[in-house]
Symmetry: C2
Subunit: 155 residues, 2 copies
């Protein structure tokens, strides 16, 4: 089945352009990326810190069933404009992918539909290509499906 | 005269690799990038905020002789490891250069010499090339000369 989240990785560049349309008002799509309570639901992570504001920062982690930390990430929020834009850094700790600059743009299509554009910039072409070897497209599409599902209940 | 600050801009990439060696202990070179009092001296800017720590942020500006703001920039600090590394974002406000991810590495060469490596990553090749049309290399070399001069007095 075709994935709804589209990932464009041009040859020999160090960035990705990702787009997805949602059957959600832009306000709910934005909320899915700004409200710690909702982020924890679709990402399945524990939120250690999530300051949704310009010059804020965040830390998230997941644990395995035995309580050991399986995944930990953190970053800083450079820009935060409600229902329009978030610019932040993202780093998966203990992983070889470096620090990413992520630009999220939220766009109203109709009253009930909206579009997310993510521009993700890596430190190098090699790091980006390393990420693409993971089931990254599959995982992100699944995460976006969960956003659609969880936020639909809030409509 | 050859500039001491070297800028490597590979074709069709969206980043710059900048290196400079200083006749300064690595601790003083780092201090030049972390201490607001010293930054204000070599950058010639007013510091509105400068939280030199992981997940901190900063805002700087300069005014013309009439008191109008001539330049304003801000960013967030993703990583801050004393005498080793700073990873931050940088945005010149009202300019078409977007948000940059900047990775500063500080390396001890001898007790009295050190090396700065700056990896600056732009949102696009076009934005990077736009920056290179400015007297960027000249300005950065001058700024680094001021670091050498000002910090030498603290040795």
């Amino acid at each position: 089945m075709e994935q709804k989240t589209k990932i464009n990785a041009a040859d020999a560049t160090q960035d990705l352009l990702i787009t997805r349309e949602f059957d959600l008002p832009v306000e709910l799509l934005f909320k899915a990326h700004a409200d710690p309570e909702i982020i924890t639901q679709w990402m399945g992570t524990k939120i250690l810190k999530f300051e949704s504001k310009k010059h804020g920062s965040y830390e998230i982690e997941t644990s395995d069933p035995k309580g050991n930390v399986a995944f930990r990430a953190n970053g800083v929020i450079h820009e935060f404009i409600a229902n329009k834009k978030i610019i932040r850094t993202f780093e998966m700790e203990g992983a070889p992918f470096g620090v990413q600059l992520e630009i999220y743009e939220f766009e109203k299509l109709t009253d009930d539909t909206s579009k997310l554009t993510m521009h993700v910039i890596y430190e190098s072409v090699a790091q980006r290509d390393q990420v693409l070897k993971l089931p990254f497209a599959y995982g992100l599409n699944m995460a976006h499906n969960r956003i659609q599902e969880i936020l639909s209940k809030l409509k």
